[in-house]
Symmetry: C2
Subunit: 356 residues, 2 copies
């Protein structure tokens, strides 16, 4: 129950046991195409270029930036946690002119301040669900007023857990990870790119591995597939299976399950006198940050000792704070297959047992 | 029996079924450390920075180049196949001054010509085992005469199949893939970096995801681990298990098995009147390129039809030629768990049945 990886669905683990096929085998390519179709369904998009990047979520971030940013172009980045910070770092390595719009950690970004930050940015980049704080940032308002800019969104922790509507919201480039609300181990970064963003693809971006123009000739080719790099076959089986579970349950039902578990967890923590960090209207159901109750830690123990006790006694992992929140907060995830009432009930009861 | 992915060892598939742990879980970190130790054993190196990059083999290539090359530095690249070409592309995207030394496809590179190509290159880069042609290039002679240059080697198809001796040969940066002779599905790129190469690491290379200075604080930290990106947990289980199989068999025994299967296959093809492309002294045992016997293809069929018949009738995949060799040659792999006498015997008998 940390901030990810979550527990994978049993169907996902079973998928790992399938025989490995070649990356140009017709049967594998059908499965890859179906995986991309399933990704379009969860991203709620018709984008032709929708596929899993062969790396973890941060590989998706890098792929998103390097293909559309040229030296000196302006990128406005909303920053209210670790992953907004990371976006600034990645954009700076593309030699972008990075314009930061900061909000306090634990509070949502103000879309209007982001829109006002620069008259004509090439890209506006925002994290939808900040894994470091449990805060949801609004995308729709940015998408409707973005003008000529591309809207680039980090959906690592949101996809599959809360509503994500790329086409309705006007998101041009989105990336995610498999190990959060999709219930698949870490290793792939689903991405989706609008036709408008593809028109701005750089020729020969600084990364060969993440060159989406070249990768499109493999993953989204209509006729012959051009080999780019060997696809991570078994991880794609796993993602295909995880998306199947989510879509069999129904995307909205999966969202309701995440919401229900998050509500139970957050109400349970507050009923025990603990303090949730984000304001109610910006809280993610799938990731809850709660202040460490210093006065209730067992005598002589720190917050890390409590996390260790949960792991040792119950096999429950919860996350510590990142960056300035290290030692200050816990991050409790309820994502993917982990988002079950029994897990929420258990972690609350375990905290009862461990805290004074 | 294509040029990779090979069939994974059964122990590898079993490893995929282990419960997913967090990337900062102590039990997982022990397994990661052990995986890195096992990689040191197969790379035959003491390099402290030896770990699996979170991407496929080409991610290893990119990680190798971006961390040590600055704009305008000279990189001498030996090119006798697709992967030498790819190195030129990756180095050029680092704004290197790329000096190519070409040899005909199917013939090995001449180390002396590479050493003579530039008086003071920053990097000399060579593919050890060219997957596109089945040719072995010499590394030891380059390592002993490299001078101040770093020697960078692609060991994607060599590692686990033939002798690789990073420390004895003076290789400074090597990368590989999991899906060839290690018998693990594609998805990770084992890399190893000498202390000498680490001293030349760029501060803030153009890639955040492949920034090995930052990744070292996670994979090779002596004390606290700094989170960089979420490790691909299940793939690391798989690699750990695959390396365990190789080292249990014994690295030299595994090499002998690959050599034995390659010898049987190549003798069997020649006995049938087929022509092997590389000269005998540069042939890889694990990957055999053979000229398509045009005169013996079934009436009205092309070489792709023959490959399709092998796949449909026998479930055997063999590879076609890449680039200029498309339609001209087949590439038959015998790697990892696929390198078994029964597979070699079957593919030869199947060819007997399919060819006129």
């Amino acid at each position: 129950m940390g901030p990810g990886p979550s527990n994978p669905y049993p169907e996902v683990i079973e998928a790992f046991t399938r025989p490995v096929m070649g990356h140009l085998d017709g049967v594998f390519l059908e499965l890859l195409d179906e995986t991309c179709d399933r990704l379009r369904a969860v991203f709620r998009t018709d984008n032709a270029l929708t596929f899993p990047v062969s790396g973890t979520g941060s590989a998706g971030m890098e792929a998103a930036f390097v293909n559309v940013i040229s030296e000196g172009q302006t990128v406005v980045v909303g920053v209210n946690g670790v992953f907004g910070e990371r976006m600034c770092d990645v954009a700076a390595r593309c030699d972008a002119n990075v314009v930061r719009v900061d909000a306090d950690w634990g509070t949502p970004l103000d879309p209007q301040r982001i829109l006002d930050a620069h008259p004509a940015p090439a890209v506006i980049a925002v994290v939808h669900a900040e894994t470091s704080t449990g805060v949801r940032n609004d995308l729709a308002e940015l998408g409707s007023a973005k003008g000529d800019a591309l809207l680039l969104a980090d959906c690592v922790t949101s996809l599959g857990g809360i509503d994500v509507r790329l086409d309705d919201w006007g998101v041009d480039i989105a990336y995610s990870g498999t190990q959060k609300c999709l219930g698949v181990p870490p290793g792939l970064a689903p991405v989706s790119v609008s036709a408008r963003a593809m028109e701005r693809f750089r020729c020969r971006p600084q990364s060969w591995y993440f060159d989406m123009g070249m990768i499109a000739d493999y993953v989204a080719a209509r006729g012959a597939r051009a080999y780019h790099h060997t696809a991570p076959i078994s991880m794609i089986y796993a993602l295909h299976a995880g998306l199947g579970v989510v879509l069999d349950e129904g995307l909205e039902a999966a969202h309701r399950r995440h919401q229900h578990c998050g509500d139970l967890l957050q109400a349970g923590l507050e009923a025990r006198g603990l303090t949730l960090v984000p304001p109610a209207e910006a809280r993610l159901p799938q990731l809850t940050s709660v202040r460490v109750p210093e006065s209730r830690l067992p005598r002589g123990m720190g917050e890390a000792d409590v996390r260790r006790m949960l792991l040792d006694r119950y096999g429950i992992e919860i996350g510590g704070g990142l960056g300035p929140w290290a030692g200050q907060c816990w991050r409790i995830g309820s994502m993917g297959h982990t988002a079950r009432r029994r897990n929420v009930t258990l972690v609350l009861a375990a905290l009862d047992e461990v805290l004074d």
